[in-house]
């Protein structure tokens, strides 16, 4: 019999056998291919994670290790058999699922990753305005985290199923926070037919803090980007952002702190929340989001929101260089864009969204414009950038068109909303779908 340790050593030694140097011809072929292979460009370069107080990346491994899966069937949702739940912007404990209700999701022993985003909860250790996440693990562990600090677990409990539509939480020995070891709580739960909205209703709990934190509406976090905790596909309804902070001017040295609900938005059926970073928020048609691979899509259709964009110098050689002579105001930016010979501007109009003044315009590369950027074969106009030295640029490439909305949030804060499709033939229909969503935006 081979011991586990012996086998591991044997396997490693066996795997040592093999080539260790890539053939030069392969490397040469790759480098030669780059001469004729253009790089994928997005209208908005993906933002780099900045040195904020967020800990999304460092905790990724922890999240992957712990997230994961639901309580002995508890939230383990056979999707076609849902319970209640339309999305709401705040916890909605009004609907008490009946354990006998045929609409309630049946318990299942199937396992699936389960992280659910919710609003602020009064848990000691979690910042007052931060979003929260409840987590159910494969080992029947339950805990709550602040959405930007997933390494800190609160209200650690063991979860178990108690009949249809109910679960039980028992505080474990460590990490229970203000709860005492052995405190027991019972809750009812139901899941929307899509499996994306979890409603938890209070039953009773020996621990008042847990009783105040667990009930309410929770949205499944199913972001395809492992670097982000966006929601992914969402049901029709109204939602809040976790991270996006449109008023923050990082270029002025402001530091990010959690701000759940910086954006409130409504979407109809068929949309996904594809990005939720402090500096950028994205909504993508579900069908397009489904095509996104781990390396990113080659096509791109999105409503994007961006904080504090500024004019980019036109002699910068496609790199980010803020043109500080252009006022960072709605009129300042729009008038400057209208004056660029590299761009054509159409459909310029004033717009008001929940009383906020803004202007919208459609832009495309001027037919006479031929200047390109390294790695590109088509004309490119890099015309907006994040304020400061963040280095993220906004560009139009080839025949692409974009709708831009510059909105004055007051206090000198400008948010830029973009509607962009890499397929020019889809642009008009995407704009038509996007505008009702954009008009639903509310900013805190």
């Amino acid at each position: 019999m081979t011991s586990e340790r012996d086998f591991d050593r044997l396997a490693r030694a066996w795997l040592e056998l093999g080539p260790e140097e890539a053939p030069d011809r392969v490397v040469a072929a790759v480098l030669q291919a780059t001469e004729t292979t253009p790089q994928v460009r997005r209208p908005i370069r993906w933002p780099l994670l900045k040195d904020f107080q967020m800990t999304r990346l460092p905790v990724l491994a922890t999240v992957v290790a712990t997230l994961v899966v639901v309580v002995g069937g508890l939230l383990l949702i056979n999707r076609p058999n849902g319970g209640v739940g339309g999305p709401t912007a705040s916890p909605s404990p009004s609907t008490v699922p009946s354990s006998a209700s045929p609409a309630a999701a049946p318990l299942s022993v199937a396992l699936r990753p389960s992280r659910w985003m919710g609003s602020e909860r009064p848990v000691p250790g979690i910042l007052p305005k931060a979003g929260t996440i409840i987590n159910f693990t494969v080992n029947n562990q339950f805990f709550i985290t602040q959405s930007a600090a997933n390494e800190n677990h609160y209200l650690n409990s063991v979860a178990s199923s108690v009949g249809d539509g109910q679960f039980r939480l028992e505080t474990t020995g460590t990490g229970g926070g203000p709860c005492s070891t052995g405190d027991i709580g019972r809750y009812s739960w139901s899941v929307a037919p899509s499996g994306r909205i979890l409603t938890i209703v209070a039953g009773n709990d020996d621990c008042p803090t847990r009783l105040g934190a667990v009930p309410g509406t929770w949205w499944l976090e199913a972001c395809k980007n492992p670097d982000n905790y966006c929601l992914g596909d969402v049901d029709a309804g109204t939602y809040k952002s976790q991270f996006f902070t449109p008023r923050l001017d990082a270029g002025a040295g402001a530091a990010w702190v959690p701000d759940f609900g910086g954006l409130t938005y409504w979407v109809p059926d068929g949309w996904a929340n594809s990005a939720d970073f402090p500096e950028r928020f994205g909504l993508t048609p579900t069908a397009d989001y489904a095509l996104e691979g781990q390396g990113g899509p080659e096509t791109f259709h999105e409503i994007g929101l961006h904080w504090q964009l500024a004019a980019n110098a036109q002699n910068s050689g496609c790199t980010s260089e803020e043109l500080t002579s252009v006022p960072r105001t709605v009129d300042g930016l729009v008038d400057w864009i209208r004056g660029l010979p590299s761009l054509e501007v159409h459909a310029l109009n004033e717009i008001r969204i929940h009383g906020l003044y803004g202007r919208r315009l459609d832009v495309s590369v001027a037919p006479s414009w031929t200047t390109s950027c390294p790695g590109e074969t088509q004309p490119v106009v890099v015309f907006l950038t994040e304020a400061g030295d963040a280095g993220e640029t906004f560009a139009l490439v080839g025949r692409a068109r974009a709708r831009l909305v510059f909105l004055d949030l007051g206090g000198g804060d400008i948010v830029t909303i973009s509607v962009y499709s890499s397929d020019p033939a889809r642009f008009d229909s995407l704009v038509a779908e996007a505008m009702p969503i954009i008009e639903s935006f509310q900013f805190e």
Binding site: T2, W14, E16, G18, V26, Q39, W46, L49, L60, A65
Partner: protein
């Protein structure tokens, strides 16, 4: 461990992050430096997953060209190596699918690398492992190689491959069971047919 951690500083003092940022803006020299820093490790990984040097070359080439094309979409330059590894494993999957008959035609990986460090792998063990490895799916192979050769923990493998940790665990478990059984069967005494007189 077969693969060491990536050097954080590249050629001429440029950090990997610097090189990635430059390459994202179309700088081919920076990309060439990145290729020089990663291609050996990635080729070794592909060769071990696919167990065929020609297939591995094709997978590496496809992956690195994808890296070049998609580089502007990489959101965090600090994750460059993990991102490249992910694209490479997916290129291995594609290569395996493209060569539908590869499982039947696969050749034993030539031993042109270093000998096993302490002579641990006998010829019999090697043959048994080679044969058993061919019976695994490319997905199971990838997890096994990432764990035992690259040294990644399961959570990181799951992250790399974009699969749940439980799936990574089950793939590793299955692969280990098959390979271990093969080694043990090979070591077991040959049973004689017929009855003792």
């Amino acid at each position: 461990m077969g693969v060491t951690a990536s050097p954080w500083r590249g050629t001429e003092g440029a950090t990997v992050r610097d090189l990635v940022l430059r390459a994202q803006n179309g700088d081919r020299d920076a990309f060439a430096a990145l290729v020089g820093m990663t291609s050996d490790r990635m080729y070794g990984l592909a060769a071990r997953i696919l167990r065929d040097n020609d297939f591995a070359e094709d997978a590496l080439q496809a992956a690195l060209i994808t890296v070049w094309r998609q580089l502007p979409t990489l959101r965090d330059p600090d994750r460059f190596e993990a991102w490249v590894r992910r694209l490479l494993v997916h290129a291995c999957y594609a290569e395996a699918r493209r060569r539908r008959s590869w499982a039947a035609n696969v050749r034993v990986l030539p031993v042109d690398g270093p000998a096993a460090p302490d002579g641990l792998v006998s010829i019999d063990d090697r043959d048994a492992l080679d044969r058993a490895f061919r019976r695994l799916t490319v997905e199971q192979r990838a997890v096994f190689v990432l764990h035992h050769h690259v040294g990644l923990p399961l959570t990181e493998i799951a992250d790399t491959l974009g699969i749940p940790a439980g799936t990574a665990r089950s793939r590793l478990h299955y692969a280990t069971r098959i390979l271990r059984a093969a080694v043990e069967a090979d070591a077991a005494p040959v049973a004689h047919e017929g009855r003792m007189a």
